[in-house]
């Protein structure tokens, strides 16, 4: 399996990364590495993690997302996960994975708005 390339885009103060396809351990580590570096380098106040390309999110991936969000938070930035698909949302709830602590939005536009509110009002927003 060739290494997937996930470019990190920058929109003003916000970083956007789109995850898709199959994520194995090695890929995940690479993503965490690059995001940490980008957040630190750019001083971005917000990161959007787009998962609309993930058709299967099992407990492993869910834990990975939680870890990445936690890491970004530690670096002083907010993270919002956008684009969870309906089938994935239902499955995650049924799976029983705790996701309540994660900020989520339907798409990049709503995600940007949420990041704005998080920046202005902290984690209690919404």
């Amino acid at each position: 399996m060739t290494a997937e390339v996930f470019p990190i885009m920058r929109i003003g103060d916000t970083l956007l990364i789109s995850l898709q396809g199959e994520l194995d351990d090695a890929t995940v580590l690479r993503i965490e590495d690059r995001l940490a570096n980008e957040v630190a380098r750019t001083g971005a106040t917000g990161t959007l993690i787009d998962v609309s390309g993930l058709t299967i999110v099992d407990s492993f991936i869910a834990r990975v997302l939680t870890r990445v969000v936690g890491m970004i938070r530690l670096l002083g930035s907010h993270a919002v996960i956008v684009g969870i698909q309906p089938a994935v949302a239902i499955t995650l709830v049924e799976l029983g994975v705790p996701m309540g602590h994660l900020h989520t939005a339907l798409n990049a536009e709503q995600g940007m708005a949420l990041l704005r509110r998080l920046r202005d009002h902290g984690d209690r927003a919404d």
């Binding site: 399996m1 199959e22 194995d24 351990d25 058709t55 299967i56 999110v57 099992d58 407990s59 492993f60 309906p86 089938a87 994935v88 239902i90 499955t91 049924e94 799976l95 029983g96 994975v97 705790p98």
Partner: protein, 141 residues
């Protein structure tokens, strides 16, 4: 309820590396689509299978096991059945493993309760020292 195998070929995959997870998901997807499962049900059974396959990688002896994916039929409906087997240490207390310990006890994060909720049927056969077999079935509505 008597279940028959359909004429579709069964697929057996050896699970020993992460790359195998991708194949497991792909084969589950193919079988689920073949029997006409909707997207939500497809997602559920593939995710359940993903959990069980990852269990094998994480907990089985030598991180090795197999999954057999086949199409079944009963009462006029078709279904997908996946049988996961490993030669691991076995589950000492199946009842306990099926209780949701996900958020409180990380070591019990076997994904079994979740996989059960996502499937229509689940059967576990296990004993300490003699490996584990987990069978999950999802029926087309």
């Amino acid at each position: 309820m008597a279940t028959e195998l359909t004429d579709a070929e069964a697929v057996v995959i050896t699970i020993s590396a992460e790359a195998d997870m991708i194949l497991v998901r792909q084969m589950l997807r193919a079988a689920a689509q073949r029997i006409g499962l909707g997207l939500v049900d497809q997602t559920k059974i593939i995710t359940a299978g993903s959990e069980l396959a990852r269990n094998i990688l994480t907990y089985a002896t030598g991180s090795r096991g197999t999954v057999r994916i086949e199409e079944v039929r009963a009462r006029g409906r078709k279904g997908v059945r996946a049988t996961f087997t490993d030669e691991g240490p076995g589950i000492p207390d199946i009842e306990q493993a099926l209780t949701d310990g996900f958020s409180t006890n990380r070591s019990l994060g076997l994904g079994l309760p979740g996989a059960r909720r996502l499937s229509d049927e689940m059967t576990i056969t296990s004993a300490p020292g003699s490996g584990t077999t987990v069978v999950i079935v999802k029926w087309a509505r």
